[in-house]
């Protein structure tokens, strides 16, 4: 899902960087210093989750769980996922440096949108109902991310249209897996720590 340096056109790269700065600023505004430990530990757990490989047929996929991040963190998911991407690029060599903004927008914006849309629904009804909304949110976030990756490729040149389509369709199984996993995670969190999703003004933890 990471785009590398040199593939995208300049307007896309610059637009992505500007949008990422805006998103990070919005996210930091919702993070008073008291909440930083919670956001940081959650950001670390999503980083660790992205190292988990889940089997699918003969192969395996690694998790992204940006939808779950958005559901738990709200706007703070933007800087949290950005930090994860930065660390991945610098220490693992995944992605690139100039495309960091584009990658952050592609992954974090769907997370934030899903969080805004579905978070209020999670605390309602039975844990199973919350889990179903969480699952829909988790699947939608990955769908939106692949779509955003496809769009950033297509905006950069017609030669990427085939690659963009392939990115989208090859990720349909990933969307299903992420939806199932997010749903199950929300189900467990609702059972074990129901107060997690009851909004006490200002969301997050």
């Amino acid at each position: 899902m990471h785009i590398v340096d040199g593939a995208l056109s300049n307007p896309v790269v610059i637009g992505g960087a500007v949008a990422a700065v805006g998103g990070i600023a919005m996210g930091l505004r919702s993070l008073p210093l008291e909440r930083i430990p919670a956001a940081g530990v959650l950001s670390a757990s999503f980083f660790v989750a992205s190292l988990i490989h889940v089997p699918i047929g003969p192969s395996s996929v690694h998790l992204i769980l940006n939808g779950l991040a958005g559901l738990v963190l709200g706007w703070a998911a933007f800087p949290a996922l950005f930090v994860g991407l930065l660390l991945q690029a610098v220490f693992f060599g995944f992605g690139g440096l100039t495309v960091l903004g584009v990658n952050a927008v592609n992954i974090a914006l769907p997370a934030v949108l899903v969080g805004l849309m579905f978070r209020p629904l999670l605390a309602r009804g039975s844990p199973l109902q919350g889990a179903i909304w969480g699952g829909i949110g988790g699947g939608l976030a990955i769908a939106a991310t692949t779509l955003a990756v496809a769009v950033s490729l297509m905006l950069s040149g017609d030669e990427f249209i085939l690659a963009a389509k392939l990115v989208f369709f090859s990720h349909i199984p990933v969307m299903v897996i992420e939806a199932l996993l997010s749903g199950a995670a929300i189900f467990l969190a609702r059972r074990v720590k129901p107060e997690l999703f009851i909004d006490t003004k200002g969301s997050l933890a």
Binding site: A39, L51, I52
Partner: protein, 262 residues
């Protein structure tokens, strides 16, 4: 401390351990030069010049004291992610045909574009890993703060860096207990539900942990401000290094311009 990020199996002793020349340079200068380097290399398009840029990155790797094989392996892993996209390019860009495969024409222009992207991506990510990735993660946080990155973003990053290993261990503990109970992953509902519970449990524990952290910090007089103590000095060797790298970059740009003119 952060061996998930740095890949050291054992924490190295001393301050950042025993790493060669690049590590003794000013981290702020390394971050700035890496950004400049990335922007310059991305703007290049001549294949020869890009090959030279990749050579420069390899030279930096040799100079950095990072384990070369491991670093190159990580770079190759990134290549394996993008290889399909690159392989498609020759067939989707129209132009003079080079060869045909199953009735599809591969164009010379497409091949060139694919090579161009591969060279750029590798040159940049290698420079990023050698110049910035060779730092202690915590030092990178301090250097970014010294470079006027918003304080709260740096704090968020420091917490992430600090807790990645803790949570990785937590994940492994949970996985071990799953294994002990006979869990074997496969492509089925049971597997995905179990992994979902695993992630959910990690999140619940993470939040509870963060409550304890905040309480412990408050107990020690946390007022919402963390002091970032690290003294950076821009020394003569930093000046020499940044001048040499700038000169190399200028040479690349010059080569690109004269190549385009010819």
């Amino acid at each position: 401390m952060t061996y998930v990020l740095t890949g050291n199996d054992k924490p190295i002793g001393g301050f950042g351990g025993f790493r060669a020349k690049v590590t003794s340079l000013d981290p702020r200068m390394r971050i700035v030069m890496t950004a400049v380097y990335a922007v310059v290399v991305v703007s290049l398009s001549s294949l020869w010049v890009l090959t030279a840029a990749l050579g420069l990155s390899l030279w930096l790797l040799a100079f950095s004291g990072l384990p070369p094989r491991k670093t190159l392996k990580r770079m190759a892993m990134m290549d394996s992610f993008i290889i399909f996209m690159l392989l498609m390019l020759p067939f989707t860009i129209p132009g003079t045909p080079v060869f045909s495969l199953w009735g599809l024409e591969a164009s010379w222009e497409g091949l060139r574009r694919a090579v161009e992207i591969a060279l750029t991506a590798n040159a940049v990510i290698l420079a990023v890993m050698t110049l910035v990735g060779s730092m202690e993660p915590v030092t990178m946080g301090h250097a970014l703060f010294a470079l006027k990155t918003p304080e709260r973003l740096v704090h968020l990053m420091m917490f992430t860096i600090r807790y990645i290993d803790v949570l990785r261990e937590e994940y492994q503990r949970l996985r071990t207990s799953m294994k002990l109970r006979g869990f074997r992953p496969g492509t089925n509902w049971h597997t995905y539900r179990s992994y979902g519970f695993l992630v959910g449990m990690m999140l619940v524990r993470a939040i509870e942990r963060s409550e304890r952290i905040l309480a412990a910090m408050k107990c020690r007089g946390f007022t919402g401000r963390i002091l970032l103590l690290e003294d950076f000095r821009f020394s003569r060797s930093d000046l020499l290094f940044s001048l040499a790298l700038s000169a190399a970059l200028a040479a690349l740009v010059w080569a690109e311009v004269s190549y385009a003119a010819s």
